[in-house]
Each structure stands twice: as C-alpha cells, then as structure tokens.
C-alpha cells in the first residue's frame, strides 16, 4: 500500500513508554513517518493556539488525526478536547481519545465534548498495537475529511 506523503499524526501522551510503544505500533503499519508528539496538554494547545511562533505551524502543518491521552499533566485531555472542539480552526480535526481509562464518566464526557472515537488501551501489547494502527489507518486513509 502506498501512503499519501502528508500523513500526520499528533500524539498527545505524557508517558514516554506509551509514546515508544505507540510509535512501534504505528511503524509496524508504516504509519509512523510523520508523528508529532506533545508531552502534555499545554504543549498540545501551544501547537494550535500558542502565541509564540510554532515551527510546525509556520510550515502550515496540520495533523490529520490527533491521538489524545486523557490523563495529562498541566492541562488534562478533556480540557484539550474541549478547546479543540470549540475553536473554528480545529473543530473538524478528528480526535481519537486513547487512554487507559475504562471509566464510564470519561467515555461519556469525551463523546459529549466531540471526540470522534474512544479507545481503551489494552494491557496486551498486541491488542494495543492493533488498536493504535487500526485507528491510524481508519482516520488517515479511509476517513474523508472536509478540507
């Protein structure tokens, strides 16, 4: 399968281990060529709305899918989601909530705030890899977004 050159994923994840595992999983499906990692909620918001010039924004790079962990230092995932979905510029970006939490209030809150999918990271790495790369494939290759 040949991939479009502009495949871009913003991964918002504070755990270095989870970042590494997620990248491995994406790499296994050749989806890891352009992944940007934000290590907390503030960094993710800086990417989109920051006052300082952001190198990536300068180049007009917009991620095509955001993988968002819910439990983040500084600004938590639900807050990031709320900001993204309430701003005209970012509202149409697909956000996949990717978290350890299986707690129902989180799931309900994430959907209420406009999350496009919700994936509970399984403990089993194989299942985790499958979940991550299926999400990547779906949102990057199959889903038609408004341009």
């Amino acid at each position: 399968m040949s991939l479009p050159p502009e495949v871009e994923i913003l991964l918002v994840e504070d755990s270095a281990d989870d970042v590494e595992l997620t990248l491995r999983a994406l790499k296994a499906r050749n989806l890891a060529n352009q992944v940007f990692v934000a290590r907390d909620g503030a960094e993710a918001l800086e990417f989109f709305f920051g006052e300082h010039a952001h190198p990536l924004r300068e180049f007009g790079v917009t991620p095509r899918v955001i993988l968002l962990d819910l439990k983040l230092p500084k600004v938590d995932g639900l807050e990031v989601l709320k900001r993204l979905k309430s701003d005209e510029r970012t509202r149409s970006l697909p956000v996949v909530v990717l978290t350890s939490s299986r707690e129902e209030p989180d799931i309900a809150a994430a959907y209420r705030l406009g999350a496009n999918s919700y994936i509970v990271k399984p403990v089993d790495f194989e299942a985790f890899a499958r979940a991550v790369s299926e999400v990547g494939l779906y949102w990057l290759l199959l889903n038609e977004q408004p341009r």
Partner: protein
C-alpha cells in the same frame, strides 16, 4: 352516693346523673368533655397502629402497640363515664378501669427500662453525618478505582509491550530459556490486566443504579449457553434448561450472574466425557430459587465460606483458569437485588449454585 329501695328490698345503684341532680348543664358538660376525651384517646392509638404498620423498621415497634392499648383503654373508661350517667353499670366500668390500670402499669414498666436504650438511638443529625461520611468514603473509593484503572494499567502495558519488543528485536539471539522467561513475564502482565479489569467491574457494580424489569431467565440462559458452546466448539456438554419462573431484575446484571454461574459449570466440567449442566428452579415459601447444577470438579464444602470472596479460588490456576472475581460479582449482584446466593458441592461430584431474585417489582 344515695341508695334507694325500689320495690324489692335489694339495694341497687343509682345512675351517675342522679348525683348531678340531673342538672342539664352539668350533664351536658360531662357528656361533652368525656366524648371529646374518648374521641382523642381512640384516634391516638389508631394513628400509632397505622404508623407502626407502615414503618415496620421503627425500633421498639412493640412499645407503640402497648401505648396504643393503654390509650385505647383510657378512652374506654371515658366512654363508660358517659354510659354510667344514665346506667349504673359500675362493676363493668370498674373492670374496664382495672384492665386499663394493668395496661398502664405494664406500659410504664416496659417503657422505663427501654429509655436508656432509646437515648442511645442515633439522631437524624448523627445519621446524616454518617451518611455524609459514607458518601465521602465512596467518592474516595471511586477515585481509587479510577487510579487503579488508569495508573496500574499503564506500567503493565509497558511491561508486556517491551517484553514483546525484546522478543521481536532480539528473539533470534535469545536462547530457548530466555524466550521462555520472556513468555512468563508477558503471561503474568496479561493476567494482572485481567485481574484489574475484573476488580474494576466489581467496583463499578456498586455505583451502577439498578434498572429492574421482568426477565425471562430461561431465554437468557439459552443465549448464554449458546455463547459458551460456540466458544468451545470441540466440547460436548449436555445442557438442560427447565422452565424458569419470571424474575424481576436488572437485565445486564442478571445476565452477568448467568454468564458466571453457567460459565463456571462449563469450566469445571472440562475434561468430563459426560459433562452435564442443569439450569432449573424450585418454588416454595413464596420465593423462587434458581439453580445451576453441574457434575464437574465440585469442591470441599469446608471451603464454602471462601467461595464468594474476592480473589478467592478453590482450584489451582493450572487446573482451572480464572481470577477469583466471578462469584464475588455474582454475590454482589444478587445481594443488590435483595436475593440470596449459596452453593452446595462435593469433591468430584459436581456443584449446585442457587440464588433467589425478586419475583415482583421491588418497592424501594
């Protein structure tokens, strides 16, 4: 009081009105006052009886009945006061008064030793306070289960993931023993993942509200059996599902009860060529007992107490898999429905798990 002789020589009593010289105003005053007292004394016990019948949980319930009896007796003495204005039935009035005296002294004698215990009853404020404390503890537990869900799973995922990464990247250079050790790490990481998931579903249960509806247990049991059978296509298990009376309960939760009990029956008959599972019901004493019986491994009844505890297992993991949460979950669900669950078994001769569920909508 005056005694007059009427015809015969036997003396007889005069009606009370005679003492009042049949003065209409005085008669009217006594009549009205005694009537009102009697009316009040009869309505108080009626109110008390109505109250204790509605609130069977009230402590010292019987004391209210005694009060009711004593006050009703007092009411009757006032009715007799009216009667004796015109009819001199003083013996009847005296006997009724004696009965009331007994009821009064009995009530007093029963009530006084009760007072120290009544003083110790928690007040509404104390209960309110206890309730607030429980709510706080409950919230803490929720936070706890949230962190278990979140914080304990993440390192486990890393353990499993990096063990696999090691196997993938360096597998060829590792000898068989190193690969076996890696496998042990991964198996245990996954097992702990299952334990955490099960524990969380147990804790979620406490917070979920019950949505009761009429349930066709036989239909639900058939669906569970079909699902279990399709998960193990190689196995032959004879399943009998008897007619099961309708129960009232939360569909999702009762489904979990059936999945666990029937699942256990399937699990513990594994390896038996003549595996048999029977799902039936007995009705008696106004309630229905549903049961799931198998002819599998069973267990020693001396461990029956441990059966429903969290993480308690009566079999080694290499005999029968499991996390030890299933029956704890079953017990919690059945208790939340106001039912009972118990087991009966013998080693190698199978087990029977029975439970009750309400047959009608619960009032609370």
């Amino acid at each position: 009081m005056d005694v007059v002789t009427q015809g015969s020589s036997a003396p007889s009593f005069l009606p009370h009105g005679y003492c009042y010289l049949w003065n209409p105003a005085l008669l009217g005053l006594h009549l009205a006052s005694d009537s009102i007292i009697a009316l009040a004394y009869y309505s108080i016990p009626l109110g008390l009886v109505w109250f204790v019948r509605r609130r069977q949980d009230v402590p010292f319930n019987w004391m209210f009945w005694l009060f009711a009896l004593f006050i009703a007796g007092c009411g009757t003495t006032h009715v007799m006061e009216i009667w004796t204005l015109w009819h001199p039935s003083y013996w009847v009035a005296g006997v009724i008064k004696a009965g009331t005296a007994l009821a009064s002294i009995g009530t007093a004698a029963m009530m006084i030793p009760l007072l120290p215990r009544a003083v110790k009853l928690p007040s509404a404020e104390q209960l309110e306070f206890a309730n607030r404390e429980l709510t706080a503890v409950n919230r803490e537990l929720e936070t706890f289960s949230y962190s278990v869900s979140h914080d304990l799973r993440a390192p486990l995922r890393a353990v499993d993931g990096f063990a696999r990464a090691l196997a993938e990247d360096y597998g060829p250079t590792l000898d068989a023993e190193a690969q076996r050790l890696l496998g042990v790490i991964q198996t245990n990481a996954r097992r702990m993942g299952l334990l955490i998931d099960d524990l969380l579903s147990l804790s979620r249960l406490g917070r979920k509200s019950l949505e009761a509806e009429p349930l066709d247990l036989a239909g639900m049991a058939r669906a569970v059996v079909a699902e279990l059978a399709s998960a193990e296509p190689g196995r032959k298990v004879q399943v009998d599902i008897g007619p099961l009376p309708q129960a009232y309960g939360d569909r999702g939760l009762v489904h979990q009860v059936l999945v666990n009990l029937i699942g256990n029956a399937f699990k513990f008959t594994r390896g038996r060529p003549d595996a048999r599972v029977e799902i039936g019901a007995r009705t008696g004493d106004g309630e229905t007992e549903y049961y799931v019986r198998d002819n599998g491994a069973g267990f020693d009844m001396q461990y029956a107490k441990k059966l429903f505890g969290v993480f308690q297992r009566l079999h080694r993991a290499d005999e029968f898999d499991g996390t030890g949460v299933g029956l704890a979950l079953v017990q919690r669900i059945v208790h939340r429905h106001g039912g009972r669950v118990w087991a009966d078994a013998r080693v190698n001769q199978g087990a029977t798990f029975s439970f009750t569920l309400p047959s009608r909508r619960m009032s609370a």
